[in-house]
């Protein structure tokens, strides 16, 4: 290997900064030169981004292709990353006075700049999958991408097996048809299934994966504390003082949390501890863009001591010299955790420094398992997903917007996209029919068809307004309706409408790191004022909780099932488990521990049944529904249940005597399909599919809802469609998403198979130590919401009417 790239300006620039060249950078360049598409898999901070751009820079510098053509397209899943990479690339270009124009194009780019980019394309354009879809829907898109030479896709592993990835993959296939010789470079963090990522990147035979091993083992500790680790909860308040001490000793710390609520709370508590006036900031997705950018730039300038952040800071962005990463709560997955600790010492030949802070006792076990997994180089696996048909519907309309297309040609283009490789022509036509006129068996809309066939057998959109509406609805991320939070004239950020609907005037809540008092809603904004309260009345809002990954759950079970593992646990955890083994039993590696015991609840004797599944909250939730349904049939009279990532607790009026009958798998899955049709989950997935496919339109920010012209309620449509066309395309999409996503069907059936004939039933006379965290969860969750509504209304009516003497 040589120690120069033979790209003079870049070599000069590296030398000037005293930066080394990595082998994989040279290899990426060489492979690409030889005509390969390259997937570069490397840990964070290995000069991955530069490697991705070297082939393109080389071509621009040495071969000087003609100007005013888009030469290189860079795609990243995050807007912030496009900006960061833009900044990093501009540095050598400006330093060496290179004649290369680099620009970004995202949802935030001004219309003026977008127009200019259309007329005068930069050499390199950095964009997101959604903005790419929009670019490709323009009539001129063929000319625009005609001379494209290089395509760089960053953090590609986060897009594989997602709907966003489906959209990107379809558009990549289009680019292939426009400029077949364009070379691709994918950049990925370490993943288990590299081949799937490579296939996603390219369908060419001439493609290679370059794998860079982590050279240093990260240094990860679990926080040692003199305080009690709580039984349940997710806020880790007990550890704040200890964390603060660590922050004090480091120069720049990122404190990662899993939800925005945690971010707000931890931030608030850290400031209460902040006797040394450290510069502590907060960063999460709901905060206003300007506020986030400000925090980011302060970080890179080293003007901040600590940032409390959610996944908004997860991906490869380089924000200065972080020397400690604190993770509060379990990271829930190994790959995600690796990515987060990669934030510290952002250079891959130095070990990263990380501190794990479990927020409850089960999480302590989880954190320990995560560390073991990293030592043993285990990685999470993502489940493979077929290309979604709602995304395909959006794409077909997008293609039609860019110009007339031929059916066979488009079909071939679609199956060239990896997620859609097995799509049958029949299904394709079904989706096409849906785009044309809704795809109903009742032919009601043929005369309004969105796309029609012209005399040359080409499909085309009927009019311009279809293109304009397509543009407003592009993308696969369906968000809740958001309202701006305004303090005086300042906008602090955005918050979901449903959260505000639950507030009364004068209620206080945490946002943007401060306690705010809710006043009113006006013009789509939430008007708040500052308050002297330090404790918010409304504690938190949920969001972004991830289920425990399968791999991590296996590790936790391993840890628990072997007593010799426990000797390194802190004494309180050790004693807790010892007590459990004396009192009841411990979950085994492959079987299932079930406990039953009576307990008083609101003054009445109830029978509790606890299953320690360790299968994540989604699978547990589904299992809970199924088990209670079966218990109902048998006559145990179940009342309700709660779940955590680890276990599930059901309580009933009658005692469950035969656990095996309830957990028999054949019967249960029949129940599942029946149950699914009635769940809010299916409705939610339907809403998303309806929006992605274009059946109903997105609510446009700033558009005021007025009286009867409320946005179309997807539940109404859902009910009608289910009754009249239960096999409609969108219902099928919704069902599939349900099975895959929230109910975690695959994981559940694997679980049921695994535990068959391997159930240990412990009949106890009272609650076991391991069950305590679950029973504490009961106050947080409830069962059937609609039943509850009827009940609440009845109760309220009686109360109130008798109060005014009307009953």
């Amino acid at each position: 290997m040589s120690d120069i790239l033979k790209i003079e300006p870049i070599d000069n620039w590296l030398k000037k900064n005293n930066w080394a060249i990595y082998n994989h950078q040279i290899e990426t360049l060489n492979l690409s030169e030889k005509g390969y598409d390259v997937l570069l898999v490397a840990p964070t901070g290995g000069g991955k981004t530069l490697a991705g751009f070297l082939p393109s820079l080389n071509d621009l510098i040495n071969n000087k292709p003609k100007k005013n053509n888009l030469h290189t397209l860079y795609i990243s899943p995050l807007k912030a990353l496009t900006i960061d990479v833009h900044r990093n690339l501009t540095s050598p270009i400006e330093d060496q006075g290179l004649d290369i124009r680099v620009e970004t194009r995202t949802g935030d780019t001004s219309a003026y700049k977008k127009n200019r980019q259309k007329v005068l394309p930069p050499d390199m354009l950095m964009t997101t999958p959604e903005s790419l879809a929009l670019l490709l829907s323009h009539k001129e898109s063929k000319d625009y991408f005609n001379n494209l030479k290089y395509l760089v896709i960053d953090e590609i592993h986060t897009l594989v097996n997602t709907k966003r990835g489906d959209l990107l993959s379809l558009n990549l296939s289009r680019i292939s048809s426009i400029s077949p010789n364009c070379k691709r470079i994918g950049l990925s963090a370490t993943v288990k299934n590299k081949n799937a990522v490579l296939k996603f990147l390219t369908s060419k035979k001439k493609a290679k994966t370059l794998n860079v091993e982590e050279t240093s083992v990260p240094k990860i500790d679990i926080l040692e504390t003199n305080n009690r680790v709580p039984w349940s909860g997710h806020m880790a308040s007990y550890a704040i003082r200890d964390i603060y001490q660590k922050i004090k000793k480091s120069s720049l710390t990122i404190v990662f949390v899993n939800t925005r609520a945690q971010a707000e709370l931890v931030f608030n508590k850290l400031w209460q501890e902040n006797d040394n006036n450290l510069r502590i900031a907060i960063h999460h997705g709901s905060l206003e863009k300007e506020i986030r950018r400000k925090v980011e730039s302060l970080m890179s300038l080293g003007k901040i001591d600590c940032v409390v952040a959610t996944s908004s800071l997860d991906l490869g962005i380089d924000w200065g010299d972080v020397d400690l990463v604190v993770q509060i709560g379990s990271p829930k997955g190994i790959s995600r955790f690796l990515q987060r600790i990669g934030r510290s010492n952002h250079r891959f030949d130095e070990p990263s420094n990380a501190l794990l802070v479990p927020s409850n006792r089960f999480e302590y076990l989880e954190c320990l398992s995560a560390i073991n997994s990293i030592k043993n180089k285990l990685l999470d696996e993502t489940k493979e997903k077929k290309g979604s048909l709602d995304v395909l519907a959006q794409h077909i309309l997008g293609v039609a917007c860019s110009g007339p297309f031929q059916v066979d040609e488009l079909y071939n283009q679609v199956i060239n996209a990896w997620p859609y490789r097995n799509l049958t022509k029949i299904k394709f036509f079904e989706v096409l029919e849906f785009v044309k006129n809704g795809g109903y068996s009742l032919k009601h809309y043929e005369q309004y068809s969105k796309i029609g066939i012209n005399k040359d057998k080409f499909y085309a959109i009927k009019n311009k307004s279809i293109r304009n509406r397509y543009r407003l609805n592009v993308g696969t991320i369906v968000e809740s309706y958001m309202l701006k939070v305004k303090l005086g004239n300042r906008t602090l950020g955005q918050v979901e409408e449903w959260f505000i609907e639950g507030l009364n005037e004068g209620d206080t809540f945490l946002f943007s790191g401060r306690v705010l008092e809710y006043q009113s809603i006006s013009n789509n904004s939430v008007i708040v004022k500052s308050t002297s309260h330090t404790q918010p009345k409304i504690p938190s809002y949920a969001g972004g909780r991830l289920p425990l990954s399968t791999e991590l759950s296996i590790e936790v079970r391993k840890l628990l099932s072997k007593k010799k593992n426990w000797k390194n646990f802190p004494s309180q955890i050790n004693e807790w488990l010892k007590l459990q083994s004396k009192f009841s039993n411990l979950p085994s590696l492959n079987g299932l521990l079930v406990e039953t015991f009576p307990r008083l609840m609101r003054g009445k004797k109830r029978f509790f049944l606890i299953c320690y599944t360790f299968e994540g909250r989604n699978a547990n939730q589904t299992l809970g529904f199924l088990m209670s349904k079966k218990m109902q049939r048998i006559g145990y009279k179940p009342i309700s249940f709660v779940v955590t990532d680890y276990a599930l607790a059901i309580w009933s009026i009658n005692e469950v005597t035969d656990v095996n009958i309830i957990l028999n798998d054949d019967l249960m899955l029949d129940d599942l399909y029946e149950w699914l049709e009635e769940t809010p989950l299916l409705k939610k997935n339907f809403r998303d599919a309806a929006i992605i496919s274009g059946l109903i339109e997105r609510s446009i920010p700033g558009q005021k809802k007025t009286g009867k012209q409320v946005l179309f309620n997807s539940d109404l449509i859902f009910n009608v469609l289910k009754k009249h066309e239960p096999k409609h395309l969108l219902l099928e999409v919704a069902r599939e998403d349900c099975y895959r996503g929230l109910i975690d069907l695959d994981r559940l059936s694997e679980f049921l198979k695994r535990i068959e004939k391997n159930i240990a039933h412990e009949k106890l006379d009272r609650i076991s130590p391991l069950a305590v965290p679950l029973i504490l969860e009961i106050n947080r969750q409830t069962i059937d919401k609609s039943e509850m509504e009827e009940y609440l209304l009845e109760e309220l009516e009686n109360e109130m009417l008798s109060e005014v003497g009307l009953n």
């Binding site: 109903y440 639950g502 059946l695 009608v720 409609h728």
Partner: protein, 221 residues
Amino acid sequence: MKTIIFNKHKFQISNEGILFWFHKQIAIISDLHLEKGSSFGYSGQFLPPYDSEETLKKLFKGIKNHNIKKVILLGDTFHDKNAFNRMPEKAFFLFNSLIKKYEVIFILGNHENKLKIDNINLLNEYVIDDIHFIHQALQKSIFQISGHFHPVATIKSSIKKITAKCLLHTNNHIILPSFGTYTGGLNINDPALKPFVNHKSYVYMLTKKSIYKFTSKEVEI
């Protein structure tokens, strides 16, 4: 069903949103908005074209077991001037059976200004005894039963807020909720409804299973 005494007459409201005047063998329904779904088809939004059929089936089901002779539709029966012609065959058949089986009184709604259907007369007002049936409530001291506003109400329990379609009863007004399958709602706190809501108002909230009666004070304002 819940009973509402309105100027000494006895009415009953069903949880589907049908107001009965059993003494006169009358059923009163408002805002069917037939073919609202397909009205979006012009602009390329293809909602499931079964809403008219659903609405009419629900109407039949709601009245067939009662001894009803006359049906009063309080306006906006059709969503727009072409809605009648757009109706799919099944819905059309149901509509024809309705007007054959019952004496149907059509009140003219604001969506129906340019609507013309052979043999169907759209009335501005229909009066029985001292009760006036109109589309949109008037600020007059006559006893009126109307629709138009699609009222919904929100009530706050200790755990969450619940929003449902409702019938509004204030002094000389009864305002019916919308009946059409795809129709949305206007909260009774909206300024447009202010003239018809006061401390003597009653709100009948309609759910899948039942009807709940509240005073206007209890419903969020």
